[in-house]
């Protein structure tokens, strides 16, 4: 059976020498640090806040996700509209997600949602919580890796 790689990781075409590569990574480290601080200080990484969201008892999480989507959407619109390039001069391309039969999105999404409410953490917050000294989330991380591995193994047999 022909398997289609629906989501092959995007690999940058150009090759970079090591010095430039290290320099190039620093900016992602800084972006990640800011992301970790914002996730913590907005309490998005809190199991309590996730419960509050799924019980529809506060606008907080909806406000965060909603305003993040709006800001990101306007940014993406402007980037596409102006055919903006990266600071390094590369073309910016945003690959569309393949709908296919769509099974993967609602089945996988629902499975993810179950885990999200149980752990109170999606992948970003798992990492931020570890930084916050909630070291038992290392166990959640290993469990999430086991889940990812299991999906990878079963992938050819699952409906997508």
């Amino acid at each position: 059976m022909q398997t289609i790689d629906y989501d092959a990781p995007a690999v940058a075409v150009e090759s970079r020498d090591t010095a430039a590569a290290a320099d190039g990574l620093l900016k992602y480290l800084v972006a990640g640090i800011l992301f970790g601080i914002v996730l913590t200080k907005s309490e998005v990484i809190s199991w309590f806040r996730i419960q509050e969201m799924f019980r529809f008892q506060s606008f907080h999480m909806y406000g965060i996700i909603g305003s993040a989507v709006i800001v990101a959407a306007i940014s993406v619109f402007l980037i596409k509209r102006r055919h903006a390039r990266t600071f390094g001069g590369e073309t910016i391309s945003i690959p569309p997600k393949q709908l296919g039969k769509g099974y993967r999105y609602w089945i996988g999404g629902t499975i993810f949602g179950l885990g999200w409410a149980l752990t109170g953490a999606c992948p970003g917050p798992i990492f931020a919580l570890i930084g916050n000294g909630v070291l038992v989330m290392l166990v959640a991380l290993v469990a999430a890796l086991a889940g990812t591995w299991t999906y990878s193994y079963l992938r050819p047999r699952l409906p997508h």
Binding site: A31, I37, I70, V76, I111, G115, G124, M137, V142
Partner: protein, 186 residues
Amino acid sequence: MMEFLSQPWPWYVAGPIIGLVVPALLLLGNRQFGVSENLRHMCAATLPGNVEFLKYDWKKAGTWNLTFIAGTVIGGFIAYTLLYNPDPIAISEATRSDLAALGISDFNGLVPSQVFSWSGLATVPGLIMIIAGGFLVGFGTRYAGGCTSGHAISGLADLQLPSLIAVLGFFAGGLIATYFILPLLL
């Protein structure tokens, strides 16, 4: 200033900053914001086995993202050490009483310590919420092709229908767990 930053940040400050991660990564190097890809990269790096989906050049595809997520751990640590908020979490009174009715008594810190601690891990609720929950997060996110960052933020921002379906699934699963599973566990 530090005192101000130590308060919980309101949604209208945090949300737009999180949203700006999307264009920042695009402009910095044509990268798509998606945290859960890192779980795949970590599997590919440590235990690819004979699994087709894990046989790819993870260093080339994922070094930037693994660096980003290492930053997220550091960011969490900085917030915890320099911007620590000692007050109990300011969730709504309704949530507080719902959770208290389920048996949650400690509202200090970001997570309920009776579940999310080493001693909590040794209990049945802790075991299920941490290990089974973590497993479902890892399985579901890769099956769905993204998590909250990849679908709910990047995907919705790019008006992608698959992401909308995935996000509806996230909520369906979350509501099932909140209303039907957690009451049995706690």
